[in-house]
């Protein structure tokens, strides 16, 4: 049952072969057994989940069920969920019980899905290994000595270890795709503006985007049907017609033009990763696709541009965490300034503080033009590269991450090395494009490798089609980690 697709689970629920309470309980049992090893969840609340399952069963019995009614879904702890502890992986919010639901949470609630718990993450989504979480690192289910990637590492580990049917993530510079790659699952970061950011705790507002993580492209399509859509409470939410993301899943790939950016294959990629990617490309040729060599000349500037813009926005977004109204406040302080300083110094971890300082610096008088304005200009050039590329191809492919999952603590002392693990994913966020990662094999350490698929704006349905056809032809996505 834990291997069933969302569609199969939904069918079984609607056929009353299993109740949502039973399904939810079996996940809760599995979580009780395995989560202590993996630390994938920050909050588990069986009572709340089962109450939702009961309501879902009533809805199933009444015959008014939707595709995901009764299915247990884990939520990244970045989404505010009413009456749930919502920490964003930070001590700063260790005591914050949200009084309201994020738009994404409401969408799942309306669909009758079960909130199975809040998944662990890098603190305020800042990290690529899940090691910055105040709640401790998440372990990769394929090898618990290794990281699951980040920042949606808890979600990736929970999906890979079958501790939920599917889950949500968010992606600012690769936070869905990189952990999906490192944990051998599928993940989709939609076009900026497709999923509402209302109630999703902001890291870098112009880059943040919610998306689904699951075991297959087909599952992601069903998740997208729930998550996507206009929300008037988010001014950057796009007003578009509702679409069915499953509509193109079964189209053949004949004639598909796949662009391979030479910059992604030049250097820095591990040989084992390169081998798996090449094999995947070969498989696509068999499925009828043609290969086009393209160039994204400015993509090499993505990492420095990102590490100006994202911290700049973050330094401002995180100012609200000041100890005044909610969240952590230092127990002792001498005056107002001291209260701010101590609360923030004690409430934020090292990586968050580092990025706040970088962001404060680049926005400061005298530096703003040289850093922030310059980075915005290059950001437009990076986006323009993709516009040019899509004149020649339908999708772009390459590695999601330069290496497979690294060991816990391996890059802890070197932030720049850590930042480079997002080298292939960041340009997509800067351009606002949709990007995906799907499993495409294993590297030298028997750790999963992810294939990145980058689509044109609003081309999610085509990307899901491209991924799904591959998953019909291969079985990498259905491999499960052993030994847990």
């Amino acid at each position: 049952m834990f291997e069933s697709s969302l569609k199969q689970m939904g069918d079984a629920l609607r056929a009353r072969k299993i109740s949502s309470v039973e399904l939810t309980q079996s996940y809760l049992d599995r979580m009780a057994r395995l989560n202590p090893q993996l630390n994938a969840y920050i909050s588990i609340d069986a009572e709340k989940s089962l109450a939702q399952a009961k309501a879902a069963d009533a809805r199933l019995a009444a015959g008014s069920a939707d595709a995901l009614t009764g299915i247990p879904i884990a939520q990244k702890d970045i989404f505010c969920a009413k009456d749930w502890l919502t920490t964003c992986g930070s001590k700063m919010l260790h005591n914050f019980v949200s009084p309201y639901d994020a738009h994404i949470i409401s969408q799942f609630n309306n669909a009758g899905a079960i909130n199975l718990g809040k998944t662990n993450m890098d603190e305020f989504a800042m990290g690529s290994s899940n090691e910055t979480s105040y709640y401790g690192p998440v372990k990769n289910p394929w090898d618990t000595a290794r990281v699951p990637g980040g920042s949606s590492g808890g979600t990736a580990a929970a999906v890979a270890a079958r501790l939920c049917a599917a889950a949500t993530g968010t992606d600012t510079g690769g936070s869905i795709r990189q952990p999906a790659a490192l944990c051998g699952i599928s993940g989709l970061k939609p076009t900026y503006g497709v999923c509402s950011r209302y109630g999703m705790i902001a890291f870098a507002s112009s880059l943040d985007q919610a998306g689904p993580m699951g075991r297959s492209a087909e599952d992601l399509a069903l998740m997208m049907n729930v998550m996507a859509g206009f929300d008037e409470r988010d001014s950057t939410s796009l007003q578009r017609d509702k679409e069915d993301y499953t509509r193109d899943l079964n189209k053949p790939l004949t004639g598909l033009r796949i662009g391979l950016p030479k910059e992604f294959f030049a250097e820095g990629m591990g040989a084992d990763v390169a081998k798996a990617i090449e094999a995947a490309i070969a498989e696509y040729k068999k499925l009828g696709a043609t290969i086009v060599d393209i160039s994204l000349p400015n993509s090499k500037l993505s990492v420095p541009v990102y590490y100006v813009l994202a911290p700049a926005e973050a330094s401002s977004n995180l100012s609200r965490f000041d100890g005044v109204r909610y969240g952590y406040r230092a127990p002792e302080y001498s005056d107002l300034a001291d209260m701010y300083e101590k609360s923030r110094a004690q409430g934020f971890g090292a990586e968050v503080q580092r990025r706040i300082m970088i962001g404060t610096y680049v926005l400061s008088h005298g530096y703003y033009d040289a850093y922030y304005i310059k980075a915005q200009k290059i950001r437009r050039l990076i986006a323009q590269d993709f516009v040019e590329a899509y004149k020649q191809c339908d999708v772009i492919m390459g590695p999601t991450s330069p290496s497979t999952a690294f060991k816990l603590g391996e890059k802890g002392d070197d932030p720049v090395q850590m930042y480079l693990s997002d080298i292939y994913t960041i340009a997509v966020n800067l351009a606002g494009l949709p990007g995906m990662s799907i499993p495409c094999g294993f590297g030298d350490n028997d750790m999963p490798v992810g294939l990145q698929i980058i689509g044109n704006y609003f081309d999610e349905a085509r990307m899901l089609n491209v991924a799904h056809q591959y998953q019909l032809a291969t079985d990498w996505h259905s491999r499960a980690p052993q030994g847990i």
């Binding site: 994020a102 209302y198 401002s316 909610y326």
Partner: protein, 499 residues
């Protein structure tokens, strides 16, 4: 050579929208603390701003009313600083690209001593939209500070002038003109006590022909009187420092109404670096030509246009036209009155003298203080006028058709002000017995009777004692119970006494 004073004003105008600028919470004044603070006002994690179109429309109205450039595209920026009543740790404002660009305001500076009244154009640099902060309450919390976020997110239009004013009187005239205008076009309630209209004054002095001096900014002046006092104090202070051989340091100062002095709040050294950058949560604000025109169609005739029309078409003096356009309510009342009697000059006199006097006096509470609800900063609302314009028009008509005398009209107006029925003017004239006797037969009869009863006085008069004429007028008036038409009476008396 004497010092020249240079003043520029920044005025924060609270826009009269029902809800806040970036969320649906109410903007009503005076609610229990934090009862109008929703998730967005509280800056809970994950919440996002959504721009209130009503606030934008009010900014467009202001731009149109001052002939300013209205930006087809403007940008909201974050102004970052920490303060407990600033819940997000930044204020959403506009920085590089404001919604309203350069405009101008014509002001009337009243006569002062030997200097006659004059008109002046003050250039506007810009006006931008922003949100207000909450309030820190330092009393009643035993050494701690309470935070009330009801006001957080209230829409403001910050209107910045060029340093075009050369005296406190000009600054006050500018502030008053602006205050009238924003109420006139319906974008602000103008309530200064509640903080709906707050002035910051940038003041410097220099010798003409030399560059401007270093300025100091006086913050948060919420009455015209304080504005004037603060500027005058600040100017004296700066001149004293400079004449002592000192120099002025750029600073932000506060005015203390109790001492009448300003004191330094912060200097340039500890000025904030606000780290402005475009707010990524909000799209650039785009205003189409069509939207501008829709808003333009809702604009009332502006004070300056009305003044010109009053002078040109109604033959009023510039002074009277200016007084009548101090508030839209007064102007509308005047126009309705003038229309009812077709006597614009008389109507203007009545409104300027009698109506306005009754409004302030009639609006006083039992302690003799002006009641705040009716008189705000000396500009009462039309609701303070108890006599309908149609009734005043009728009253004026009754003067011109000689039904009542001027003295009778004053009595009538006073009675109308407190009357239950303020509409039936003619009935009240009857009831009060104010109708003049204009029947020459009746007046002749009275005169005859008086002359018959005072034959000795008639003889004295006829022998040259002209002064006795007043005696006969008095007797006749007394006999007519004051109702004789004075002009007619004079004429008849003169003729009869002449024999």
């Amino acid at each position: 050579m004497s010092w020249e004073i240079v003043i520029g004003l920044e005025v924060h105008v609270q826009l009269s929208t029902q809800s806040k600028i970036f969320c649906g919470a109410s903007t009503a004044f005076g609610a229990e603390p934090n009862t109008q603070a929703d998730a967005v006002s509280l800056a809970l994690p994950g919440v996002l701003p959504v721009l209130n179109k009503g606030a934008v429309e009010r900014a467009i109205k202001f731009g149109l009313a001052t002939g300013a450039h209205i930006a087809p595209r403007s940008v909201f920026a974050r102004k970052n600083y920490f303060y407990p009543d600033l819940p997000k740790g930044y204020q959403i404002s506009q920085f590089e690209l404001p919604v309203v660009g350069q405009g101008a305001l014509t002001i009337q500076v009243p006569a002062q001593g030997k200097q006659p009244a004059y008109e002046k154009v003050v250039r506007l640099t810009r006006a931008h939209l922003e949100e207000d902060a909450g309030k820190s309450l330092h009393e009643d919390f035993h050494g701690m500070t309470g935070i009330d976020l009801n006001r957080a997110g209230t829409p403001l239009l910050e209107i910045v002038s060029e340093p075009d004013m050369r005296s406190a009187a000009e600054a006050v005239a500018y502030a008053k003109t602006l205050h009238t205008l924003v109420q006139w076009i319906g974008i602000c309630d103008g309530n200064m006590q509640e903080g709906s209209f707050r002035c910051d004054a940038n003041v410097s002095v220099h010798k003409p022909g030399t560059p401007f001096g270093t300025r100091r900014e006086i913050k948060n002046l919420n009455s015209f009187r304080f504005l004037e006092q603060a500027i005058n104090y600040e100017v004296q202070h700066q001149i004293a420092v400079l004449e002592d051989g000192g120099s002025i340091q750029q600073a932000t100062v506060l005015f203390d109404p109790d001492t009448g002095e300003t004191r330094v709040m912060r200097t340039k050294e500890d000025a904030h670096d606000y780290r402005y950058f475009p707010d990524p949560d909000l799209l650039p604000l785009e205003i189409s030509e069509e939207w501008k025109q829709q808003v333009a169609a809702t604009l009332p005739e502006l004070p300056h246009t009305k003044q010109e029309r009053y002078v040109r078409d109604l033959g009023l003096s510039a002074y009277d036209a200016n007084v009548l356009t101090q508030s839209k309510g007064i102007a509308e009342y005047f126009e309705a009155t003038a229309q009812a009697c077709n006597q614009p000059k008389l109507a203007a006199n009545w409104v300027i003298n009698d109506v306005r006097r009754f409004m302030t006096e009639g609006a006083k509470d039992e302690n003799g203080e002006p009641a705040a609800s009716e008189v705000r900063d000396g500009v009462p609302g039309r609701d303070a006028i108890r006599v309908p314009a149609e009734s005043l028009g009728k009253l004026i008509s009754r003067i011109t058709d000689s039904t009542i005398s001027n003295a009778g009209a004053k009595k009538l107006f006073s009675a109308l002000w407190t009357a239950q029925d303020t509409t039936n003017v003619d009935l009240l004239i009857e009831q009060m017995g104010l109708k003049q006797v204009s029947d020459s037969g009746a007046i002749e009869k009275i005169v005859d009777e008086i002359m018959a009863a005072n034959t000795d006085k008639v003889a004295e008069y006829r022998s040259g004692k002209d002064k006795l004429f007043g005696f006969f007028v008095g007797q006749a008036m007394k006999a007519s119970k004051g109702q004789a038409n004075p002009a007619q009476l004079n004429e008849i008396l003169k003729a009869k006494l002449a024999g």
